[in-house]
Subunit: 358 residues, 2 copies
């Protein structure tokens, strides 16, 4: 059986057999590519790149010209949504994202603007439309957003954090008003992801980068439950209902049974989790995406290949595996090893397909 | 049944019933205490504090004067061992620990000095002796060291890191020579912890801060296996054999079944793990320590108490629980909430003891 390249990723999202394991890489359009750095140099700031649909389209397509990847992912940033809600995002060199107006009080929550995705975030929708046009059906386009809890972390801290002192002080002091912030984000994210679907995104991914900093009950309440509401909202919309939904909840190995209840079709796995054990805990209906340590791409090609094949072997004959990293690719990654990764994954003969043939 | 306060912690380490759950806090001697900051201000650098036995003793005892804690832990730093091996440690304001001579080649490994704990690390042993004398048997003293993998991470990176690019590049490029570095550390740590035992430490703890950044097979090979050898070396020594050994492997919730094979008597749990599930996976022979989110100490007293009681309830009637945080206490923690923590834990009537009484 041969699968059309344009279909591999979406079939795997739905747990259907494919000829080759599809592969894409989180942050595949990024600083490890010289052509990305050249495009990035054309604008003063990182946010300018996100807000320019032509340039966002260009960098989205760059990795697809180099590597035989099975999906494109919209080039953007999860913090465009809080920016559109009024927090004034900027990127400070050497420090990362900073909000001029962090959310620290219930008054701050009430002041939040509920964005219209085709107004304040129109640049994202224009990028989606342009990328879909340029891709011309060769591979599907993934749209994405941050999870409510992850966005709340950044919005409360005002920047990145090691221990999320402000966000957790709120959580352990006044959980009811924190819930109001999450409610606002749920509504904003449903609108944002529906609009991406309407603009042409063919799969939707939620990045729950900071769910893993919570205790189990706090994860269920403040990270998982709002994501369930986002996903239910998407399922209830005409535009987004047909799209596969991917949930990447970093550090969620302890809670896979809970993540299985998220409503997502695909669960992204970080590299702490063994794919075979994860699949047993998630159940047969859920596909998985992952889960190579991004740092394995700094290794010797022989050991890199062995690590990739270890993951493919652990998945075994189960359909519904999309190969990816366990987190984003990092800036000094050697391009030659990315080539090896894609080749190694595609050279792997899927035994579920072999069984299907004979 | 009433347990002597001096015995609570050691009995719980051994899984024996106690009248009240013993409690101590990782980094209990630290910046959240004004008296610590005053003592710290007497010396130019953090390392000077570690290297002065009188001051190290003073800060070790400070939290015991304020709170009804059931154990003292030596005030020191896990990086004193690499410092004694020749890496020249310093603490840079706002950046944390930095080694002047990081380990990047096999030649660097061969140049490492194998320290004599009563020579290069005599200041630690003198601190242990002095603290034991000053404690006068009121509560036991815990000695500690970093795990081989955790120390190797710092030694290779030369400083803290988010993704451990240098350490993992080595791991995925030349694992055999990385093993040589771990071998050196295993030998140094056995000697260091034996010497702490000989100097009077009454329990020994391994901090595996960075085991959780590895994949499952890499954790078993590069983090767990060297710790097993350290623990076996301690069990084989006259000084350390009778002491309970505590292993804190942060982010190891995915691998508790493996951690159960470490040889440690007590496993420290971070706050991602539910204590009841962890105990089932670890088995009845292993005690646990943990596992409150340190950030819960920033919350409202009512919610803090509820969170503490949730953990005590989850442990239920099982003996062998030492209450602690899931990671170190942080600098802005309100002291009043630490008081509430200790009182709440000690007010809890242990049902295993109740059953023992009737």
């Amino acid at each position: 059986m041969s699968t059309a390249k344009s279909e591999r990723f979406l079939r795997a999202c739905r747990g259907q057999p494919v000829d080759r394991t599809p592969v894409w890489l989180m942050r595949q359009a990024g600083r490890y590519l010289p052509e990305y750095r050249a495009t990035r140099a054309q604008v003063p700031g990182f946010l300018d790149l996100c807000q320019n649909p032509e340039l966002a389209c260009e960098v989205t397509l760059q990795p697809l010209r180099r590597f035989d990847l099975d999906a494109a992912i919209l080039f953007s940033d999860i913090l465009t949504v809080p920016h559109a809600m009024g927090l004034e995002l900027s990127f400070v060199d050497g420090e990362g994202p900073v909000f001029a107006n962090p959310v620290r009080t219930t008054q701050d929550i009430q002041r939040l603007h509920q964005p219209d995705p085709e107004q304040e975030l129109r640049y994202v929708m224009d990028a989606v439309r342009l990328i879909r046009h340029e891709l011309a059906g060769r591979v599907p386009l993934i749209g994405f957003a941050g999870s409510p809890w992850t966005l709340a972390c950044y919005m409360i801290e005002g920047r990145g954090s090691r221990d999320f002192q402000h966000a957790k002080t709120w959580l352990y002091s006044d959980p009811e008003s924190l819930q109001q912030l999450l409610d606002r984000l749920v509504a904003a994210l449903i609108g944002y992801l529906r609009a991406q679907a309407a603009a042409g995104a063919q799969a939707l991914m939620l990045f729950d980068t900071w769910g893993g900093v919570l205790s189990t009950p706090a994860y269920r309440h403040f990270s998982l439950a709002p994501m369930q509401r986002v996903i239910a909202g998407l399922r209830a919309s005409a535009e987004a209902a047909p799209l596969p939904i991917i949930l990447f909840s970093k550090g969620s190995g302890n809670w896979l049974e809970a993540v299985a209840q998220s409503g997502a079709d695909v669960v992204g796995l970080d590299w702490n989790t063994e794919i075979d054990q994860a699949r047993e805990r998630l159940g047969a209906k859920i596909s998985v995406q992952g889960n190579l340590d991004p740092m394995a791409l700094y290794g010797h090609p022989t050991l890199l290949r062995a690590e990739i094949e270890r993951i493919l072997t652990a998945n075994g004959s189960r359909p519904g595996h999309i190969f990816n990293l366990g987190h984003g690719i990092t800036p000094q990654t050697p391009i030659s090893n990315v080539e090896i990764l894609v080749e190694t994954v595609h050279a792997w003969k899927n035994s579920h397909n072999e069984y299907g043939e004979y």
